[in-house]
Symmetry: C3
Subunit: 344 residues, 3 copies
Amino acid sequence: MTKTNPGRFFEDYTVGQTIRHAVPRTVAEGERALYHALYPARHALYSSDDFAISCGLDGSPLDDLLAFHTVFGKTVPDVSLNAVANLGYAQGRWLRPVWPGDTLRAESQVIGLRQNSNGQSGVVWVRTQGLNQSDEVVLDYVRWVMVRKRDADAPAPEPIVPDLASVVDPADLIVPEGLSFTDYDFDLAGESHRWGDYAVSEVIDHVDAVTIEEAEHMLATRLWQNTAKVHFDATHRPDGRRLIYGGHVISLARALSFNGLANAQMIVALNGGAHANPCFAGDTVRAWSEVLDRAPTSAPGIGAIRLRLVAMRDGGTAGTLRSADGKYSPEVLLDLDYWALMPV
Amino acid sequence: MTKTNPGRFFEDYTVGQTIRHAVPRTVAEGERALYHALYPARHALYSSDDFAISCGLDGSPLDDLLAFHTVFGKTVPDVSLNAVANLGYAQGRWLRPVWPGDTLRAESQVIGLRQNSNGQSGVVWVRTQGLNQSDEVVLDYVRWVMVRKRDADAPAPEPIVPDLASVVDPADLIVPEGLSFTDYDFDLAGESHRWGDYAVSEVIDHVDAVTIEEAEHMLATRLWQNTAKVHFDATHRPDGRRLIYGGHVISLARALSFNGLANAQMIVALNGGAHANPCFAGDTVRAWSEVLDRAPTSAPGIGAIRLRLVAMRDGGTAGTLRSADGKYSPEVLLDLDYWALMPV
Amino acid sequence: MTKTNPGRFFEDYTVGQTIRHAVPRTVAEGERALYHALYPARHALYSSDDFAISCGLDGSPLDDLLAFHTVFGKTVPDVSLNAVANLGYAQGRWLRPVWPGDTLRAESQVIGLRQNSNGQSGVVWVRTQGLNQSDEVVLDYVRWVMVRKRDADAPAPEPIVPDLASVVDPADLIVPEGLSFTDYDFDLAGESHRWGDYAVSEVIDHVDAVTIEEAEHMLATRLWQNTAKVHFDATHRPDGRRLIYGGHVISLARALSFNGLANAQMIVALNGGAHANPCFAGDTVRAWSEVLDRAPTSAPGIGAIRLRLVAMRDGGTAGTLRSADGKYSPEVLLDLDYWALMPV
């Protein structure tokens, strides 16, 4: 019998099932440095221990997306090895910062199943939690994927589709203990724009662009211990191209968004997201954001801002999103909806 | 007179000679993170401090191959700058873990010399030790290389060929102090297969594959401070190709072997190894293993497994090794023979 | 109104103006490891904590050029976003080591302005200081760049051209507190040549070469949070090439200079420097040095050596510098003039 992991197929999931994912990972100063080498990341809270201390933290946490990718990577062998498509995210919340030296692991619960009408595949909804070495939840999100069936004749499960919020209620956003923006240094942060300076429906062109190389996205994706073959094996697809991990595009776009959103310091919720089109090495990636909403918080000097972050390959311009038929424009790579914390 | 290092030629070696290699190197969290970015490494003992602590260690040691490459790199300017070929390894043992913050240096003793019949070159056998900042030996191995003569008319030394064991006796394997697999968490480790589940002569196809980029192998080889020109200088060979450091292929194959050998946690001995064919950027590397032997240890819950690890470029399949004429098949890049520790 | 940074134009500068640059950055073990992966760096003082301790320091500092690039990167959004050319450096001094865990920030003062006769641009001189978390200056240098005017009709400022020394007086070199080369281990450092073994006007061919990849220079330049578009965006120039950050060539050449100058351990002053020609991925870079001067220091066992470090792309040989017309030869990438500390 084979000793290697064939991955789970649609009929291997049952609603209520809990999966403890391998392999726990200690993340530290090295991962922080690599994050800065892989993405043009400059948000001051994640760049400088001193800046973070001046904001009431004990030091600079690891990037929120570094935590996301690490947790996500652990789920791949159990959730998406036989996935046909990554369909969506919802109800994502960062519940506490990840500090250098923390060890992260992940658990997922199957919360929904619906076989496709073609009988060949189905949709699996999982709620994933990232936990640290003290078993505290650092991240919690729902993701759904389309997964192949092993046996097309296997009976369809009773369809259960979870009721998911389209946006995290701002009252449910968690501000890390101690965080305060009352003594915020706008010079050191890089921009003078406050929470109150952003208007709902305002669009920001982040101007800068990065052309992606194969070595870069593979270094990143390995760092998150994401093992999906399509990212690494040029012989896997007939066209010899390696598909770039969608999370690489998320981090790249978020880092590019510094230019115009330097003070959107901390990501606290992921309302939704779509990897609109595949990204390949050689693509030159740009980004734009739209302000979707604003909400106060009870934390000192801190407001929440809801942002749409769109990544595009060359050819797109700020505002490019959908074609007349309602489908994503071919240049659009990512359409992400998140809440961030800003100084008021 | 030139101030640069011309490297040693065959007639510069004498049996019994000891060489203290430059440059000592402190290895820490950064090297750990880079190891995970460069290779799809997932063995839990090296990924998670908590997992390592649950196995009786003080924290997660640095990868055994990271220690090997660092020590090996130090020997290159003194041993293989004028080498024509890297002929073999024997009697390699890891004697104690390398921890983040340790400083490694290397010393080699010349233990054998034999001039080739053509008078142009000869074989040099060295026994190399890697030492930490407390002068404790962390690694000990024999390597032999073919080295050019500076002057073909220089007299041949008396041939001395060391008597090398073809395999490290399992009784000589060192289990790190405190290591115990009695509370081993198979879920977190990623696979359920125990030492007793592997049968001698069993072959495991590790399934996954990675296509190598120039930037990746150069980042790795520089990190080990290996200065051999062929790895970095595209003008060095007439065909403009950079030869990939053989150790890069070792680490890549070992990391790929997680899929099927996730519980072969710790490498404790290197019985032998051959870099069967050169590897170049663009090669898609796969791996397979064969169980060569099993031996109990006196440590709690720990068995030793002897494995053949074979790396192949595209075209090879699990089991591909030698052609009918006994030579390595052209797809085979690496044939490595090692002992690892597994939970019983 | 746009929220993104348009950069400063020539008429935005006034002599005496002070700019506090964003974003502070904590540099640690991860940056150290990446430096060793990106460049073939082997100087023992920066490779081994133990070696550094034997030289009287508390541990191994971060590479002097890592400090330089980090500080330089912070100035880019304020000084060189609209720069046409990076014209020169002068009076650079490293005033204290940067240790893992230090947080660096940068401030610049405008010390000179001169509009060009074409009225389209002008030269801006800035004196930049890098400071650590205790507000101690770690690095101090002058740099001048040619910057475009926003409005060609804006009035020219009164020209003020600072009086800059062509070389840092050896009496002004700062030797870090405690540094001593009296117990220097030449074996571990990699070469036996002392300060007294180098003669003024001696030329050293550093022999080794590295072919640069796109992924490598982008990883490095991002790590220094240098945001200049030309380094990352293949669509920015009509020829589709990404210009390599000049500092990447400085670090590469300095690392290559180990072979022949292994004991030129610490860079203490930057007398001047020119990026003679642009460097692109695919270039194979070599280096040579010329001894320009020597000076004693009052520190134990330590001499200062003034070196010209020249980087060339393929086609150049040791000594290649200028053509008959006095212009840099097309192969020359870098002409750097610095002071380093060596064991006497």
